[in-house]
C-alpha cells in the first residue's frame, strides 16, 4: 500500500490511454464534440474548476498530472448522468473511478477509507463494524423483542443461513448498528407475504465503500465474500434491500470480475410491486387521511445505472398505491434522467460537506418544487443526504423508507418503528 505517500508523488496516469482502453470505440473521449451537455447536467460541475467536459478535454490535452491529483474525483458521485445526456454516450465516471484508484490510500477521503477498512476486517463486510456474530445476535434479540411485543408476530421467523431458502436478502449496516428497531418492518413484510427467505451470517452487509475507493481489488473482495456466501446457501434469488449502490456493486462486480454467481438478482422494490400486484401486500392509501404529499427519489445506482425504466415504473407504482394517486408528485426530471442527490459515490462519507451540499442543492430545489411533505426513497445514502439537505437549506420535508409506509398501510407498524415519520403520521394506526 502507498500509505503515507504525498499526492504530489502520486503516479501520473495516462487518461487518454485509459479512455481508449476502458471506453467503447464509439463512445471514447475521442468522440466528444465539446457541446457541454454533460457539464450542464452535472451537479459536480464547478468544484475545483472541474466538470465532466473539462475532465475529457484535459485528458485529451494530456493534463494527466492535474487529473491524477484533482480532488474533484471525490465529488463526482459516478452517477452517470453525464453519459445519459451525452449524444455520444461518453461515460466520464469510468475514468473517475480509475483516477480514484490511483490515490494513495492515506489520501483517500478518510470516511470512505475507514468504512472500507472496516468492511475488510470481518466476513460480515459491514462498514459500521458489525461483526458476523454480533449481527446474528442483534437479529435474534430484535426478533425476540418483536415476538414479545406484538402478538401478531409472536411466531415470526427471522432465518439466518437457511440453506435453500428461496430468497436471500442483504441488510444495510445502519439498522443493526444504530437502529435495530428499523429491522423489523421488512421482516414483517416478508412474514406477511409468506416469503421463504434468509439472511446470511457472512457477507450480509449491503454497503460497499470499497468500490468507492476506486480499487478494483477491494471491490472484488467485497463482492466475492458476498457472492460466495450466497452461493453456499444455495438460494435461488438474491434480493437487494432498500439500498442503491449495493445492487449495482454486486451485479456489476460479478460481471466485471467474472465471478460465478449461482443466483438471480432482484430489487426489493420490484418485489414490493409484484406482491402488491399479486394481492399479497394489500396496501392502500387509506391511512393518508390528510392527503400528505409524497415525492420519490430514484437512486441512480438502482435506476439509471442498473435496471432503468422497469424499476422506475415499479417505484412509482408502489408509491402511488401507498400514498394515493393524487398525493404522489413526481420530481422533475425523474427516472433515468433524475439527478443524483449528492450522497452517492462515497460523497456522504468523504467529509467534503460544503461541496456535497452545493451538489445537493439541485436535489433540494427539485424536492421543494414538488412541495412534498415526504420523500420516499429505497436508498440509505439518498435518505441521509436528503435529510441533511433539508436541514441545511431549511426544507420542510421528511424522508422515509418504503417499508415504513407499507407496514403503516398494513397496520403493522410498531410504535418504535416510526422514527422517520413526522407528528402528522406518528399516531396513525396506533389508536386501536
Amino acid at each position: 500500500m502507498m500509505s503515507g505517500q504525498d499526492i504530489d508523488q502520486m503516479e501520473v496516469m495516462n487518461f487518454q490511454k485509459l479512455a481508449h482502453e476502458l471506453l467503447p470505440g464509439g463512445a471514447s473521449f475521442e468522440s466528444c464534440i465539446a457541446c457541454g451537455l454533460c457539464a450542464s447536467g452535472c451537479p459536480a460541475s464547478g468544484f475545483y474548476g472541474m466538470d465532466p467536459r473539462r475532465f475529457i478535454r484535459m485528458a485529451m490535452l494530456g493534463l494527466n498530472e492535474e487529473l491524477s491529483r484533482t480532488p474533484w474525483v471525490w465529488t463526482c458521485t459516478q452517477c452517470k448522468r453525464c453519459q445519459y445526456v451525452c449524444p455520444m454516450s461518453i461515460d466520464v465516471s469510468v475514468l473517475v473511478a480509475a483516477a480514484r484508484s490511483n490515490w494513495p490510500k492515506a489520501k483517500v477521503p478518510k470516511g470512505i477509507m475507514r468504512s472500507c477498512d472496516a468492511q475488510l476486517r470481518d466476513v460480515s463486510t459491514s462498514a459500521m463494524g458489525v461483526r458476523s456474530e454480533d449481527f446474528v445476535e442483534i437479529v435474534e434479540e430484535t426478533a425476540e423483542e418483536l415476538r414479545g411485543s406484538d402478538r401478531r408476530f409472536a411466531d415470526i421467523k427471522v432465518p439466518v443461513d437457511k440453506k435453500g431458502a428461496e430468497f436471500i436478502i442483504n441488510q444495510n449496516s445502519r439498522e443493526p448498528a444504530a437502529e435495530p428497531e428499523e429491522l423489523a418492518p421488512l421482516w414483517k413484510i416478508f412474514d406477511y407475504v409468506g416469503a421463504d427467505w434468509t439472511y446470511a451470517s457472512k457477507g450480509w452487509a449491503a454497503e460497499n465503500f470499497c468500490m468507492f475507493t476506486g480499487d478494483d481489488e477491494l471491490w472484488k473482495q467485497m463482492v466475492k465474500t458476498r457472492v460466495d456466501a450466497i452461493n453456499e446457501l444455495g438460494c435461488k434469488t438474491w434480493i437487494n434491500t432498500e439500498c442503491g449502490h449495493s445492487f449495482y456493486t454486486i451485479w456489476k462486480g460479478v460481471e466485471r470480475f467474472g465471478l460465478k454467481a449461482d443466483f438471480e438478482a432482484g430489487s426489493l422494490v420490484s418485489y414490493y410491486a409484484k406482491w402488491i400486484r399479486e394481492g399479497k401486500l394489500p396496501v392502500n392509501s387509506d391511512w393518508n387521511r390528510d392527503n400528505l404529499k409524497f415525492t420519490l427519489q430514484d437512486p441512480c445506482q438502482l435506476v439509471r445505472k442498473s435496471i432503468g425504466d422497469p424499476v422506475a415504473d415499479d417505484l412509482r407504482f408502489v408509491a402511488r398505491t401507498l400514498v394515493g394517486e393524487d398525493n404522489f408528485i413526481d420530481m422533475q426530471p425523474g427516472g433515468n434522467a433524475n439527478y443524483c442527490c449528492g450522497g452517492g459515490g462515497g460523497f456522504l462519507q468523504a467529509g467534503m460537506s460544503e461541496q456535497r451540499r452545493a451538489y445537493g442543492r439541485r436535489k433540494f430545489d427539485q424536492i421543494a418544487t414538488t412541495k412534498a411533505d415526504y420523500v420516499l426513497t429505497p436508498c440509505h445514502n439518498c435518505h441521509s443526504q436528503m435529510e441533511d439537505l433539508g436541514e441545511f437549506y431549511g426544507g420542510q420535508y421528511r424522508v422515509v423508507h418504503f417499508w415504513t409506509l407499507i407496514c403503516l398501510s398494513l397496520g403493522i407498524l410498531g410504535p418504535d418503528e416510526r422514527k422517520y415519520l413526522g407528528p402528522d403520521l406518528a399516531g396513525i394506526g396506533l389508536e386501536t
Binding site: 464534440i33 467536459r53 478535454r57
Partner: protein
C-alpha cells in the same frame, strides 16, 4: 515616425521590413538589439505565410544529413542555440528516425555516419526499445536511431520577436498592410506604396533601408522593386493535425524525404506531414483531400494507429525554393539553404531580400540580414541574438498548447469565464491579448486573437468559441457594430478551409453541429440577406 501627409497616411522609419513571418520578425528583433528602428508590415497578420503553416520541427539536422550536410550542420548549431535562448518556445522532446520494412536498409545503415559528419548526436536503439518509447510505432520497424530533435511553437516565436523589439522601443508592427509598389529614385527605394487592406486606404512608408522578408512572396515583392534576381518556385506542403498527441517524440521515417513521413508533436496534438506539390501561385495553397489521404496512408505505415485517429484539420504552407541554386522539380530535394540577395547588381543600394531557409535557421538568417542592413546604415553594433535570451511575457504566452488549460486549472477562478472550452482559454487571456499583445495597437478581431492564442484550434475548430469570444468582444466594447458578426463569419469561413479535407469519422458530427450553430443559431449564412415585406434584416 507616423503622421499624415495630405490625404495619404505616411510613415517614416529607418528600416521597413516586409513580411511578418519568423524571418521578418527575427530581423526586427535583431535590428532593435542593435538600436536600429524598424517598421514591420504584413499584408495579413503575423505568421500568415509559411511561418504559420509548417511542421514546427526544430531540426536537429538529422533530416538533411544524407542530402545536404551544410544545412544539417546549420540546423544543429541553430537548434542548440534556440533551446538555450528561447526555451519557452521549445519542447525538447527528442526525435527518432525509424526504418520500416521496405525502406532501403543501406540508407538506414549509413545514417549514423552521416550524422557524425554533421556533428549530430545519434544513438542506435533496438526496434523493441523504440516501440517501448513510442508504442504507436509499427511492428515492422527494423531500425531506429535517437537524435536531439525538438519542436518549436512558431507563433510564440514570432510574437516574442516582435514583442522584444517593441519593448526595446525600436520596432512597430502594422498588420493588414500590403506593399503594392515602390517609389524608386536614384538607385534607391524612397518609399513603399502600401495599402491598408482593411480600410482600403493608401499608405506611404519611407525608409532608409527596405528588407524583403516576404517568404514565398519574395519574388513578387522584388519584382515590384524592378528586381529580376529573385527566382522562386513554389512547393506546397500539407499537414494534418490530430485531436490528441500521438507520440512523445518527433518520429521521422528513415528514408529519403517523402510524403507523410514525419510525425511531430505540437504540445497537445500531433502533426503528420508533409506532402510536396509544386504550385504556380503561392496564394493557392489549400490542403486537398487527395493530399490528406496520401499523407495518412503513408503515415499509417510507420504508425498504424494513425489510420483510425481523429484529425481535426489540415493546412498547407508554401516553401519558396530558390531557382538560382538549381532546384530540381521535386521541391523537397532542393536546397533548404537560404540566400541573402543584396540587389546591388540591380542598381539598388537600400534593398535586400532574404529568402529560403528554415524556421530552425531563422535567427541566422536574421543575423546575416541585420549585419548587411546595419553596415549599410553605418551602425557598427554587432548582432546580439546569439547571446541575449528571447524574453517572454503574459500577452504572448497563449499560443502554447495546454498552457491556458494548466494555468486556468491552477487558478480555478470561476469568474474568469472560459471562452474556448476545448483549449480552456479564459476571458482574461483574451483581454490580455487585446490590450497587450503585438498588434494590439490596432483593432483586434476574433481572427487576430485566435492567432495569438489557442482559440479555434481545438476539437471544435471554432464551432463554439467563435460565438463565445465574439460575445465577449461585444461585452468589452471591442466590437461595437454589426461588423463583429461579419468578422465571426470570416473567421469560421477561414477555419473551414482547414477542416474540409479531414471531414469524416468523428470530426464530421462536430462539423455538422458547427454548421447548424453558425447558420441556424447565428444566421451567418444570411448576413445581409433581405427579408421580403418587412424592412427588418434577418
Amino acid at each position: 515616425m507616423s503622421g499624415h501627409q495630405g490625404a495619404k497616411r505616411h510613415y517614416e522609419t529607418e528600416v521597413l521590413i516586409i513580411g511578418g513571418g519568423v524571418t521578418g520578425t527575427g530581423i526586427m528583433r535583431d535590428l532593435a538589439l542593435r538600436g536600429i528602428h524598424s517598421l514591420l508590415i504584413d499584408r495579413q497578420d503575423l505568421n500568415a505565410g509559411a511561418s504559420g503553416g509548417n511542421h514546427g520541427l526544430l531540426h536537429s539536422g538529422g533530416r538533411y544529413v544524407a542530402a545536404d550536410a551544410e544545412t544539417a550542420a546549420e540546423c544543429r548549431a541553430e537548434s542548440e542555440l534556440l533551446k538555450r535562448l528561447a526555451p519557452e518556445c521549445i519542447d525538447p522532446c527528442g526525435g527518432l528516425f525509424v526504418a520500416v520494412e521496405g525502406d532501403d536498409p543501406e540508407f538506414a545503415a549509413r545514417f549514423p555516419d552521416h550524422c557524425a559528419v554533421a556533428g549530430i548526436p545519434c544513438e542506435e536503439i533496438s526496434p523493441t526499445e523504440a516501440r517501448k518509447m513510442e508504442p504507436a510505432l509499427s511492428e515492422k520497424v527494423y531500425a531506429a536511431y535517437q537524435v536531439p530533435d525538438a519542436t518549436v511553437d512558431p507563433f510564440r516565436l514570432t510574437l516574442q520577436n516582435v514583442n522584444h523589439a517593441r519593448r526595446l522601443g525600436f520596432g512597430d508592427f502594422l498588420p493588414h498592410m500590403g506593399v503594392e509598389g515602390f517609389d524608386i529614385e536614384g538607385g534607391e527605394l524612397k518609399a513603399a506604396r502600401c495599402r491598408d487592406l482593411r480600410s482600403g486606404e493608401e499608405v506611404l512608408i519611407s525608409a532608409r533601408q527596405i528588407v524583403n522578408a516576404g517568404g514565398a512572396w519574395a519574388m513578387n515583392i522584388a519584382r515590384l522593386a524592378g528586381c529580376a534576381d529573385v527566382n522562386l518556385i513554389y512547393s506546397k506542403g500539407t499537414l494534418i493535425v490530430s485531436n490528441t498527441r500521438l507520440s512523445q517524440r518527433v518520429v521521422n521515417r528513415l528514408r529519403l524525404p517523402g510524403d507523410g513521413d514525419i510525425l511531430v508533436p505540437g504540445g497537445t496534438v500531433s502533426l503528420l506531414g508533409t506532402s510536396s506539390v509544386t504550385i504556380e501561385d503561392p496564394d493557392d495553397a489549400r490542403p486537398t483531400i487527395a493530399e490528406v489521404d496520401k499523407i495518412l496512408a503513408e503515415g499509417a505505415v510507420m504508425m498504424p494507429p494513425l489510420a483510425d485517429t481523429r484529425f481535426i484539420r489540415a493546412f498547407s504552407g508554401v516553401r519558396p525554393l530558390l531557382m538560382a541554386s538549381g532546384a530540381a522539380e521535386d521541391g523537397r530535394k532542393a536546397s533548404r539553404g537560404f540566400s541573402l540577395i543584396t540587389h546591388e547588381d540591380q542598381n539598388l543600394s537600400n534593398f535586400v531580400t532574404i529568402a529560403g531557409g528554415k524556421l530552425t535557421t531563422f535567427r541566422l538568417m536574421a543575423e546575416k540580414t541585420g549585419d548587411l542592413v546595419a553596415q549599410r546604415l553605418g551602425n557598427s553594433a554587432p548582432c546580439a541574438t546569439h547571446t541575449v535570451p528571447l524574453p517572454t511575457e503574459n500577452a504572448v504566452g497563449w499560443t502554447e498548447p495546454g498552457f491556458a488549460a494548466r494555468d486556468w486549472y491552477q487558478r480555478a477562478d470561476a469568474s474568469d469565464m472560459i471562452l474556448c472550452e476545448c483549449e480552456m482559454t479564459p476571458q482574461s487571456a483574451v483581454d490580455a491579448i487585446v490590450s497587450d499583445a503585438p498588434g494590439s495597437e490596432h483593432h483586434m478581431s476574433l481572427q487576430a486573437i485566435a492567432l495569438r492564442s489557442r482559440v479555434g484550434k481545438g476539437a471544435c475548430q471554432g464551432a463554439f468559441c467563435a460565438m463565445r469570444v465574439t460575445s465577449h468582444l461585444y461585452d468589452r466594447g471591442i466590437y461595437d457594430s454589426p461588423e463583429g458578426l461579419e468578422l465571426m463569419r470570416d473567421f469560421v469561413t477561414e477555419r473551414f478551409k482547414g477542416v474540409r479535407p479531414v471531414l469524416w469519422g468523428r470530426q464530421l458530427p462536430q462539423m455538422e453541429l458547427a454548421e447548424t450553430l453558425h447558420c441556424g443559431l447565428t444566421g451567418l449564412d444570411l448576413l445581409g440577406a433581405k427579408k421580403p415585406g418587412s424592412g427588418r434584416a434577418s
